[in-house]
């Protein structure tokens, strides 16, 4: 399998996971939050400085449909992570390229 094919396949799988599968994610609080609630330090949490972001909570504010909202948020996140990584890797390869082993 060529690298290109592998990457495309991986991106498709990731898009399905972030765009579709995420809708079925458990609504329960994650381990840390659950422990905080159980042991009584959950109320020390302060809301994040970015909690006003239109994508906060993995939903797109202004999109009413829950599936669409969540799926879109996931895909935006994928795109941002992908672009940042592409830029980072390009930068690193240019600064310190090493020969193929």
């Amino acid at each position: 399998m060529s690298t290109r094919r592998l990457v495309v396949l991986g991106l498709v799988v990731s898009a399905l996971v972030a765009g579709v599968l995420s809708f079925y994610a458990s609504g329960h609080p994650d381990g840390l939050t659950f422990v905080a609630e159980t042991l009584g330090f959950a109320d020390t949490e302060r809301s994040s400085a970015t909690s006003g972001s239109p994508l906060a909570g993995y939903t797109v504010s202004g999109v009413a449909d829950a599936r669409l909202s969540g799926g879109l948020a996931g895909l935006v996140g994928l795109a941002v992570v992908g672009l940042l990584m592409a830029g980072l890797v390009l930068l690193l390869r240019r600064r310190a390229p090493r020969s193929e082993d």
Binding site: M1, A25, H28, L32, S48, A49, V80, G82, M85, A96
Partner: protein, 229 residues
């Protein structure tokens, strides 16, 4: 295990940020010099994207609680630990800044926990497991599962350690350690399953791209009329 703002006090948050920044800087150098190649570079991007996606899918682990993939060992086995730290740092940073998942003042903490501890402790466990497993490509997936399983409760314990230093509330540490470890051992099982599935699929498709499989693949033999005879 995204730590929100407020759980840890300011000096601890600053301290973790300083430590993380230093480790990330070192990983930038190490990744560029020893891990990233033109061939494997696309995999680094894919790994970060996949980890971001997978972290969105929380799975139930017991009545009332859920877990999600950390992805540190998955990344480390595929692209190397230094590159994995970079991948996880990008993921965690995007999560905090764009999605308010994990506090902004807690970003250093979350990078330290998920990008450094999970990656490097898990990778260490992976390498130890490889030592005792047969020298075959399949062992890479098994060892990755071991490393992944270990990485989750160890990261939870690291959080307990940070809480001991600068936790906002006077929680008995033994109790916090017990409860955190207990749940995160269970979550570690999920981590191991996902990691094994992901690593084994890449090992099956392109074992030459897998950083953790180096030295475990049959050497290519150059066949010339002399060697073939």
């Amino acid at each position: 295990m995204h730590v929100p703002d407020g759980f840890l006090d300011a000096p601890t948050s600053v301290g973790t940020a300083v430590v993380s920044a230093g480790v990330v800087a070192a990983c930038l150098v190490r990744s560029a010099r020893h891990e990233l190649t033109d061939r494997s570079a696309p995999l680094a991007g894919l790994v970060a994207v996949f980890v971001f996606a997978a972290q969105m899918v929380t799975f139930p682990v017991g009545a009332g609680t859920s877990g999600h993939l950390l992805g540190g060992v998955l990344a480390a086995v595929l692209v190397g630990p230094a590159t994995a730290t970079l991948c996880l740092t990008v993921v965690v940073t995007v999560q905090a800044l764009l999605f308010a998942d994990g506090g902004v003042s807690a970003l250093g903490t979350n990078v330290l926990l998920m990008g450094v501890v999970a990656v490097w402790v898990g990778y260490g466990a992976f390498r130890l497991a490889l030592l005792v497993l047969p020298r075959r490509p399949a062992s890479v997936s098994v060892a990755a599962g071991v490393g992944a399983f270990v990485s989750v409760p160890m990261t939870a314990l690291a959080f307990v350690g940070l809480y001991a230093v600068g936790g906002a509330a006077p929680i008995p540490l033994a109790q916090l350690a017990a409860v955190m470890t207990g749940w995160h051992v269970v979550i570690g099982v999920g981590e191991a399953v996902i990691t094994v599935l992901a690593v084994s699929s890449i090992v099956a498709a392109r074992p030459d791209l897998v950083h953790g499989a180096r030295g475990r693949l049959p050497a290519l033999e150059l066949r010339t009329p002399e060697t073939v005879g």
